[in-house]
C-alpha cells in the first residue's frame, strides 16, 4: 500500500501528470496576457516525449557519469520533497516533527544540481548560467526561509501537522501572515528561476544558462524537474499559508487543486507582467527589501505569540 502511494498518489505519477497540467496552465495564462491564443493542451506532453526521442550529445571533455546523473538527482530531490508535503489531509505520507525544515532543504538540492550541471558542462554560457544560479540561490533562499518559517513560529511547531492544527483553531491568525505570503511568492519566483528573476537562464543573453549543453533525454528530465518544482513549491506554499483541509477526500483534493492553481496563477501573472532584472539587482532587491520585511514579520509574530 505504501509503495502504491509513493508511486501513484501522492507520488510519482500524480506529480508527473499534475506538473504537465500546471505547465500548460502557466503557459496559457502567459499567452493570454500577451494577447495570444497559446499552446494546445497536449503541448507539455509533446515537448517531453519529443525530447525523449532525440539524440543525447555529451561534450567530449565532460564527465559522462555526472553529466547523466545530475538530472536524476534533481528530480529525485523534488519527488522526495513532494512526499513530505501534506496535500489532502493535515498529515503527509510520512509526517514527523520538523518536516517543514527537511522539505526546505530538499528543495535546495535541485538548484545545486542546476549549478553543478552548468559548471561541469565546461561551456562559457553554461558556466555563466551556473554562477548566476548560485548567486541567485544566496539572494532568495534567506527571504524564502524567513517567510515560510514565520507562520511556523506563530504556530509554535516545525511540522505541517502542527501548523495546520494551530491555524484551524485560530483562522484569524492567517491574516497576520499576509506580508510573509507576499515575500514567499516573490522568493518562489526566484527559486523557480522565472521572470523577473530568470537571469540564470536568460535566453537573450546567455543562450540557455546552465542547460545550454544538455540535449535529448537529459534535457527532458531537467525540464521535467523544473515543472515538478513548480508543483512542489505551489503545494508547499499552500500547505504553509492555506493549511485547511476537508474531512472528505474528494472535497479535500479539489480544495488542494484550487489552492495550487491559485498560487500558480499569481506566479504566471508575475511572469507575464515583469521584465528581467540583472543579477546584482536581484541580490540588492532580495537583501534590501525582502529580508527587511521578513525580519519585521518574524518580530511581529514573536510579539503576537507572546501577547496571546
Amino acid at each position: 500500500m505504501e509503495f502504491f502511494q509513493m508511486l501513484v498518489f501522492p507520488g510519482l505519477i500524480f506529480l508527473s501528470v499534475y506538473s504537465f497540467a500546471l505547465e500548460y496552465f502557466d503557459r496559457i495564462v502567459y499567452a493570454r496576457l500577451q494577447n495570444r491564443q497559446g499552446p494546445p493542451w497536449y503541448q507539455p506532453i509533446a515537448d517531453f516525449f519529443k525530447l525523449l526521442g532525440k539524440e543525447v550529445i555529451v561534450p567530449a571533455s565532460v564527465s559522462k557519469l555526472w553529466f547523466k546523473l545530475l538530472p536524476v538527482f534533481a528530480y529525485a530531490a523534488n519527488l522526495a520533497a513532494f512526499l513530505y508535503i501534506p496535500l489532502t489531509s493535515a498529515n503527509s505520507l510520512y509526517p514527523f516533527s520538523g518536516d517543514l525544515i527537511v522539505v526546505l532543504y530538499l528543495l535546495t538540492i535541485p538548484t545545486l544540481c542546476f549549478f553543478l550541471a552548468g559548471y561541469i558542462s565546461e561551456g562559457v554560457y553554461s558556466g555563466l548560467g551556473a554562477v548566476r544560479a548560485l548567486t541567485q540561490l544566496f539572494a532568495y533562499e534567506v527571504p524564502l526561509f524567513m517567510a515560510l518559517l514565520a507562520p511556523a513560529i506563530l504556530a509554535d511547531s516545525w511540522s505541517f501537522a502542527g501548523i495546520s492544527a494551530y491555524y484551524s483553531a485560530h483562522p484569524i491568525m492567517m491574516l497576520v501572515n499576509i506580508p510573509a505570503f507576499i515575500i514567499a511568492i516573490i522568493a518562489a519566483q526566484g527559486k523557480l528561476e522565472r521572470t523577473p528573476f530568470d537571469a540564470p537562464e536568460a535566453e537573450t543573453e546567455i543562450v540557455a544558462g546552465a542547460f545550454t549543453e544538455y540535449s535529448g533525454k537529459l534535457l527532458a528530465l531537467f525540464r521535467f524537474t523544473v515543472d515538478a518544482e513548480l508543483v512542489v513549491v505551489a503545494s508547499l506554499l499552500a500547505a504553509v499559508f492555506l493549511p485547511f483541509y476537508a474531512s472528505n477526500f474528494i472535497i479535500s483534493f479539489i480544495l488542494y487543486l484550487l489552492k495550487t492553481v491559485f498560487i500558480v496563477f499569481i506566479l504566471a501573472v508575475f511572469k507575464g507582467l515583469m521584465a528581467r532584472l540583472r543579477i546584482e539587482q536581484i541580490v540588492a532587491f532580495c537583501w534590501k527589501w525582502l529580508i527587511g520585511i521578513g525580519l519585521l514579520q518574524i518580530v511581529l509574530n514573536v510579539i503576537i505569540k507572546g501577547a496571546f
Binding site: A31, Q37, G38, P39, P40, Q43, G53, E55, V207, E213
Partner: protein
Amino acid sequence: MNPLKKLIKWAQRKSPWIIHFNAGACNGCDIEVVDALTPRFDLERFGVLQKGSPRHADVLVCTGAVTMQTADRLKNIYDQMAEPKFVVAVGTCACSGGVFGDCYCVKGGIDAVIPVSAYIPGCAARPEAIIDGVVKLLSTLEDKKLQPKNPIVINSEKELADMLDEAEAAEENTETENFEENKAKEDNENA
C-alpha cells in the same frame, strides 16, 4: 511499431523548436522570421518555440546566401544539433543564392553546405509563407522516415498570392468592422 515510438513520432510533429541563423542575409528575411514569432502570429499554437541553443532545437531556420565567412559556422551549428534535425531555407537568397549568387564571396544557397528539407522563397519571405512552410514540413513527415523524401517547396506563387489576398481581405474586414463599432460607440456616447 510499438506505442512509445508512435508517441515520440507524434510528439516530433507537434513540438518543433526552432533556432534562427543568419548566414549572410540582408536582414530583410530575419525581420520577417522575428515577425513570425510575435504574438500577432502566435507560433506557439503549433508548439513552435524559439531556442537559443542548437542542442535544444529541432529546426534550423536559415536566411540569406551562404558567404565564405559563415559557411564553417553554419556547418558547425548544424553538427551541434541533436538528431532528428531539419533545415528550412527562408528567402530567395537562402534557396539559391539569389541576386548575390554570383558574388566572389558567396558559396550559394544553404544547400551548398548542409541538406535542406524545405525551401521558402520570397524577397523577403512573408511570415505567412514561413509558417506555412514549417507546418507543411511537419505534416509531411511520415511515420517511417523522418526526413521527407523530396524537399518541400513553398513556391506555388498562385497559392501564396491567394493566401495573401485572403489575409489582406480579412484584415480589411476587421478594420472596417472595428471602425464601424467605434463609430457606433461614439454616436451612443454623443447621444
